[in-house]
């Protein structure tokens, strides 16, 4: 039976929703003010709508097909699942993207796919769609392509020329978990593919002897996704992996996706409530790693068993465990230390630094600068504020943690 476009869209967007990434930021700036094309990219992404799961819709996130020859236990599209299957033709994807874009529904396309026939064939079809959009439709919006592991390097190179961002999901935090739940995937080839993208990006920045630049390669970089809570890995393992991915392959983002129930689940992986708070804490820790100068050991060393504290954010948990460093004199403390004060963000710290050159700071000033003083109060001193014994008080943790709850007796 032939499926209509609407039915295909339903199946193939349903299959794509487990990919957390929907960012449209980064990439080179371009527009269509010349009237010869469609679309623009300003560097900062736009979220065009939000679904009730709190995730933004920035890109048209679909699979080219959800037929797949792999059997990954956590995935709704695995070969052993009875989910309905469909496949878009390249023309259908192109027309959906263009029509949605013209009505200002989306920033561009995020195309992923199940593996059909062979990795090369799948990647070739995806590159074909990107080529049609860029060359025939003169589309200048955002394109995010998922790279298929094991696809030929030439195809990845071609994909990098059309797409703003490439991504490949590591999916699970350890080799053992991949072997158990995604037996056909090989973590080493995934890392090699990331290395290829990194090398492609580095090569596209080299000018030739005449000063000419080679074409841009995946200007918005690459990202990846890890499923949290499907296997037994702790947060230290997950963050350690993320840290090494950021360092080794210059990833722009690592997405953490709480393992959430899928239709027609595998007997290998029992369904649980998705660990949403844990996912949130991992993102907070990820930011501390990238922008606040924390190391993985510092963040995960605070609690037992290498997991993050679910009751409070990792920075606050760290500060409470290291009260010897506090309270800090905001007027004189270094940037590195100010960044470690709970309730101070990068922007607040920059404002503090630029203002304190001119005058003494007061409590009300910090309020106006956007600091969260409820959190910061015990850890700072100012001209008109001293935390007194608050910093070392025994119940400091209890002030921030949610009140204990009586467990259900039944």
């Amino acid at each position: 039976m032939v499926k209509t476009l609407s039915e295909k869209l339903a199946i193939l967007s349903d299959a794509a929703r487990y990919d957390a990434s929907c960012a449209s930021s980064g990439g080179n700036k371009r527009n269509s003010r010349d009237g010869k094309g469609l679309g623009s990219n300003e560097g900062s992404g736009i979220c065009h709508a939000y679904t009730p799961d709190g995730r933004c819709i920035s890109l048209l996130k679909i699979l080219m097909t959800n037929f797949c020859i792999y059997d990954c236990a956590y995935c709704v599209n695995r070969v052993s699942s009875n989910t309905p299957r469909a496949r878009f033709t390249p023309e259908e994807v192109v027309s959906l993207t263009i029509e949605f874009y013209r009505r200002n529904y989306i920033e561009g396309l995020f195309l992923s796919s199940g593996i059909i026939q062979s990795p090369d064939k799948t990647m070739e079809d995806m590159v074909q769609i990107a080529r049609l959009l860029r060359e025939r439709e003169n589309f200048r919006g955002y394109i995010h392509l998922k790279t298929i592991p094991d696809a030929a390097p030439e195809l990845i190179a071609a994909a990098g020329l059309y797409a703003d961002r490439l991504s490949i999901n590591v999916e699970l935090p350890t080799e053992a978990a991949v072997a158990a739940y995604a037996p056909e995937k090989n973590p080493a080839t995934i890392r090699s593919a990331m290395q290829d993208v990194k090398a492609g990006r580095a090569a596209s920045k080299d000018r030739s002897h005449s000063g000419k630049r080679p074409p841009k390669f995946a200007p918005a970089g690459q990202s990846t996704q890890v499923i949290v809570g499907a296997d037994g890995s702790n947060d230290a393992t997950i963050l350690g992996q993320a840290n090494s991915l950021y360092g080794s392959y210059g990833l722009k983002r690592v997405y953490y996706s709480a393992f959430s129930p899928i239709p027609d689940s595998s007997a290998k992986l029992p369904l649980v409530q998705p660990p949403l708070v844990r996912e949130h804490r991992l993102y907070q820790a990820d930011w501390l790693l990238r922008f606040y100068g924390f190391s993985v050991d510092e963040i995960t060393g605070v609690t037992q068993a290498g997991n993050l504290d679910l009751d409070m954010d990792p920075k606050l948990a760290w500060a409470i465990a290291h009260r010897g460093l506090f309270p800090l004199d905001v007027q004189r403390a270094s940037r590195d230390l100010l960044l470690r004060v709970p309730g101070f963000g990068v922007r607040t710290v920059n404002r503090i630094l630029s203002t304190r050159r001119h005058r003494d700071l007061r409590y009300a000033d910090l309020q106006r600068m956007g600091a969260l003083l409820k959190k910061a109060r015990p850890f700072i001193t100012l001209r008109d504020w001293s935390p007194g014994r608050l910093t070392d008080s025994a119940d400091l943790r209890a002030r921030f943690a949610p009140p204990p709850e009586q467990l259900s007796l039944f």
Binding site: A10, K36, G37, A49, Y50, G54, F100
Partner: protein
Amino acid sequence: MRTIALPRIGTAQAWRYAARGLLAEDVRPEDVLWSFDDPAQVDLFAAQPRRKTTPAQVTVPKSFVDMANRVVWHSDDDRFARLYTFLWRLRDTPALMQDRGDAQLSHLRRLEKNVNRCAHKMKAFVRFRDLSATGPRRRFAAWFEPTYHTVEPTAPFFAKRFGDMDWMIVTPGVTARFEDGRLSFAPGQARPDLPEDATEELWGTYFCNIFNPARVKVQAMTSEMPRKYWKNMPETRHIPQLLANAEARARQMQEAMPTLPPLRAERITASLADLRATATRDSLETVNAQIRSCTRCALCGPATQAVTGEGPRDAALMVVGEQPGDVEDRTGRPFVGPAGQLFDEIAAQAGLDRQATYVTNAVKHFKFQQRGKRRMHQAPNQGEVQHCKWWLEAEVALVKPKLILAMGGTALLALTGTKDGILKRRGQVEDTAYGPVLVTLHPSYLLRLPDASLRAAQTELFRADLAQAAQRARLVA
């Protein structure tokens, strides 16, 4: 008292011009009354005869001009007066722009933030409908109700984005039109009757299916997509239905019993396994393929790839190094980093032909510590060397070299069981279970020597060791 009337269209420029004139005439902020889009007030430019001389140059930080250009679009009645009051202070103390704790500045910044957010939401939430025009350019129109006066500053964004079509954004205050590449503004209108657009159905289908019913976070949605925008967005009519069914759908997924895989699954999985089994042919290739998928120790996790040996499989000489470095890990080839290049250089001087040599490492994965963006080399420990010895033995058994050159402590440890006294043992041939092993230091040792004369002496010794290896290999070959 001076009254300045500012128009609805072109507000930013009018305010700037007026403020410049007032400053030039030294008019104090408390002596100015500002009015906005007031039909009772006469037009600014008509009322005051244009001065013959341009107003005196006023210098303010660029950051103020950028801020003022946003704040004027707010709907706060005091915005013009606040801007001018701040500008008055700024004249004497330009550093005021950096004082983020200043009450007046922080109020203006808040207004600016409101306007920016409103403009951003307008970029996100305007929904065009197709007017099905027959001309060469397609025509679209949208009805939108912004919180502040953000149509004029945001319209250029749409002009850049939708350059190849004609469009119109109608709002209660201002209407923006883009026709044949020209952007124009007109007074606002009442809500027009736009024709139905079939694509909205498809968009609704997408919106419903991209939603994951197992993770409901209504507050995360409404904080970014406030309800006031919902009435002009076609997809939002599905939200109540989605929320009502979410819990039941999630529960249903959890309670459903696992089903039997479809028939094709077994066939596909089996053929995939066949494909993998036949992928390797020759025995050294088999070993190398197995090395690439090795997970015997923890080093495989962070490293990019295993680096296998390289060279003719009937080589008389086998060179064993420590482990791949950063460059080798990225390229997948042994001895191509700084130490490898040094080895090549000295080997060439010593008459050792690398092309005729099988080069490999005692440990196949790169061990490192991540420090920011740098990967700092770490020596492999006993356990890792032991795990990897399995592969080294397999390589030795297949290549059957007449002589093995062990470079550095790790190679020595793997081949002889101990690395103690390496400085005394260097330059000598030891008999081992793998055949004769010539001991020398690792070339990276030379790279780390700070003293030039010491380095020259050690390089000379290393060259002599390589020459000896080359000579012995030639003799037995």
